[in-house]
């Protein structure tokens, strides 16, 4: 993974001192609340319902084992012994003290981490596929490109006070999109053109929130070396023309819609014509330098299967289930990628204790080249596990609460912190996730339902990505009471779509039985091999509506 050079280290060290000084001035009364606000937000620090919340950047989800251990130490020393992985591959601490945040940042800087631009109206953490580098069908490893974007966007002087937040995602897989690029402000799809040259299809104007929009193509093909200048052109057009009179209409999606994609594209291309081939154009040496940071581990020449593993699969249904749901095919024979589930019933989705962080660090060291990844689905991944190590890893995953065999199923719920923590939320989301997990506690039944993405957001800011859940649940406020609106048919993948609202909302107690009715309709209507999303697309939401509101 990317390793800091002296410049990278100097930059985060400078940032620690800068924020220490800003915090000191704020506490001394030399900086007003409103003035400190954007400064702390650009360092990931929110003031929440109970305490500040600090969002720490995990660039494109990559975590080294020593970073996981540092996060564990910070969670113990400065927080309440746990953290929460967000839907954009970051981690959040829910109980730090404002006065001690500079010290947390100093601790993070020791392991090449920071909280720069994890919030605020600036360019946020660049996200990508959690299986980057090990997927058989990816065009190239997207991580070097993510790092190029990270460096370019870090402290970009022109784009720190945009109309609204700005999120970029990169996907390089041909057949899947686990990075949800189409619902990002800019989505970069790495492709090859007919001549075999590497480049990008660039989308803009996607986003969730109160006005969900699927991004549109700005350019069908941008050459590899023009990555940064093309993004710069888009962001400059947005910075000048995005709305600033209404924060709910300030995202780039509103600009692209209002202008129309043709006119927006023309403006971007006109701006880019001035930038094309300037000194910000990537050099071959720079691309190679980045790629060298993500060079392939020393994979051994291993047999694709292992007799002991085959035997255990035959003997143990639990092991079979775990492999079926939590293992992902690796492009190198004899290796597999394993997802450590953070979706155990009774635990808030994406939450991880400091003990688990240390355990995951140890597992990463012993079984996966010392690295782990965070997915936007809020789970942890060990990407380079030897097949022959699977039985041992399974035992240790079970012992540490990581082995819930539910990845990609109904109970692998994406969920924001919701009303239990977040001051923006209209309703709680974590207890809803738990109720649904309890309702569907029969693993065989959940497996039979197959791939099904259920996403919960506690308000229309949509941090839980409810619009693109196959089943989406949105917390709403009805005269001071918490209610839940349900939508069907959302999908964050290559064929991205937004869910359609089923009808009037429900109270919290009703939600599990409503989900059950929806599932019943699917089971009745599905054809063989048809996944939930396919059935909803084929039959529409009417049959579901009829059953739920009967």
């Amino acid at each position: 993974m990317y390793v800091y050079n002296d410049y990278d280290q100097q930059l985060v060290d400078d940032r620690v001192e800068q924020f220490r000084e800003q915090t000191r001035r704020y506490l001394a009364g030399d900086l007003e609340e409103a003035e400190f606000l954007p400064l702390r937000l650009q360092n990931g620090l929110y003031i929440q319902r109970h305490a500040p919340m600090l969002r720490i950047a995990i660039p494109y989800g990559m975590l080294a084992s020593n970073q996981l251990r540092k996060l564990a130490d910070i969670a113990d020393e400065y927080d309440r012994g746990y953290g929460h992985f967000s839907t954009r591959q970051n981690i959040q601490l829910n109980w730090p003290e404002l006065e001690r945040v500079p010290d947390i940042l100093a601790e993070l800087a020791k392991v090449e981490m920071h909280a720069i631009q994890t919030s605020g109206n600036c360019i946020r953490n660049t996200s990508t596929d959690q299986f980057a580098g090990v997927l058989a069908d990816e065009v190239v490893d997207p991580r070097p490109y993510c790092e190029l974007i990270r460096q370019w966007s870090t402290f970009h002087p022109e784009f720190a006070f945009l109309p609204r937040k700005f999120k970029i995602a990169v996907n390089s897989a041909a057949s899947t999109d686990r990075a949800a690029t189409r619902v990002h402000d800019i989505g970069v799809q790495i492709i090859r053109n007919d001549a075999g040259e590497l480049g990008y299809r660039v989308y803009a104007g996607g986003g969730l929130g109160r006005t969900p929009v699927i991004g549109e193509v700005v350019s069908e093909f941008v050459e590899e070396k023009h990555l940064l200048t093309y993004i710069e052109a888009i962001v400059r057009v947005y910075n000048q023309h995005g709305r600033r009179d209404n924060k709910f209409k300030a995202r780039i999606k509103i600009l692209v819609r209002a202008m129309g994609i043709e006119k927006f594209r023309a403006k971007v291309e006109a701006e880019w014509a001035h930038l094309k081939d300037n000194d910000s154009t990537l050099t071959g040496a720079e691309i190679e330098r980045m790629k060298a940071h993500f060079s392939e581990p020393n994979y051994e020449d291993l047999p694709a299967t292992d007799p002991a593993v085959e035997q255990l699969k035959a003997d143990s249904k639990g092991f079979r289930n775990w492999l079926e749901r939590n293992a992902t095919e690796h492009r190198v024979p004899g290796y597999t990628a394993i997802t450590l589930s953070l979706k155990k019933t009774g635990v808030a989705p994406g939450d991880i204790t400091s003990k688990q962080m240390r355990a995951a660090a140890d597992l990463a060291d012993r079984y996966s080249v010392g690295e782990a990844r965070v997915s936007h689905f809020q789970n942890l991944i060990l990407a380079d596990v030897r097949v022959s190590d699977l039985p041992a890893l399974w035992e240790e995953a079970k012992a540490n609460g990581f082995a819930t065999p539910n990845i990609g199923t109904l109970t692998d719920i994406i969920c924001c912190p919701g009303g239990d923590f977040c001051s923006l939320a209209n309703a709680k989301s974590i207890p809803i996730a738990e109720q649904i997990q309890r309702q569907f506690d029969d693993l065989d039944y959940v497996y039979d339902l197959g791939n099904l993405e259920l996403n919960i957001s506690g308000c229309m800011n949509a941090c839980g990505h409810h619009h693109v859940g196959n089943i989406g649940i949105l917390g709403v406020d009805k005269k001071g009471a918490e209610f839940y609106q349900i939508s069907l048919g959302g999908d964050s993948g290559l064929d991205a779509s937004l869910g359609k609202i089923l009808g009037p909302s429900f109270n919290a107690e009703e939600v599990p039985s409503v989900i059950e009715k929806i599932i019943d309709v699917y089971v009745k209507e599905r054809t063989e091999e048809e996944e939930f999303i396919d059935t909803v697309r084929r039959v529409g939401i009417k049959p579901f509506k009829e059953q739920v509101y009967a």
Binding site: Y7, D8, Q10, L11, D14, R15, E17, Q18, E21, Q22, E35, P38, L39, N121, Q151, W152, S153, T154, F155, H156, P157, E158, F159, A160, F161, L162, P163, L228, R236, N239, Q240, R244, H274, N278, D279, S280, T283, A285, E286, R289
Partner: protein, 164 residues
């Protein structure tokens, strides 16, 4: 009195900031709104005293023409510090229109924004009342590393390292 920084030094503001309704005096340094500048370009050149242009935040670089080079100062207004349009306007003035004169940030700016303002091309800052210029000078350079190109750094860090 608002304090002023020009070229990294505390300076005295000699300019009067005129509105559209104000008559332009024959002498003395003035900064006039863009509409006045565009309507009276020639007579403004003839007056005795320096003349600058005042851009509101929704007046963009694309609204300007080559007459901007006659200005003694271009003042870009930040109505609220969160309104970052002026950062792009400054960048484009310097890099697209090749404006070489004084570029002054006015309005609601934070001392903690001076670093970014300087990077995109501002060399003068009229600080809001109560913001000490001495503190501003201390905060001009909080981060010593610049990854990306901007007006102050035409070459991104990776190219600088490659040619080093």
């Amino acid at each position: 009195m608002p304090e002023l920084i020009v070229n990294r030094e505390i300076a005295t503001d000699t300019y009067r900031y005129l509105t559209e309704e104000d008559a332009v005096p024959a002498t003395g340094d003035v900064i006039v709104p863009l509409v006045v500048w565009q309507a009276q370009a020639d007579s403004l050149q003839a007056r005795d005293g320096r003349t600058g242009v005042w851009l509101a935040s929704d007046q963009l670089a694309e609204d300007l023409d080559e007459r901007i080079h006659q200005a003694d100062v271009v003042a870009i207004e930040f109505p609220k510090f969160v309104d970052g349009r002026g950062f792009s306007t400054a960048y484009l003035l310097r890099n697209r229109l090749n404006y070489q004169g004084e570029l002054r940030a006015i309005g609601d700016i934070l001392l903690d924004q001076l670093f970014y303002l300087q990077r995109v091309g501002f060399n003068a800052f009229l600080l809001p009342d109560g913001k000490p210029a001495a503190k501003g000078l201390e905060l001009l350079e909080p981060i010593s590393v610049r990854y990306q190109a901007s007006t102050d750094t035409p070459c991104p860090l990776f190219r600088q390292l490659e040619s080093a």
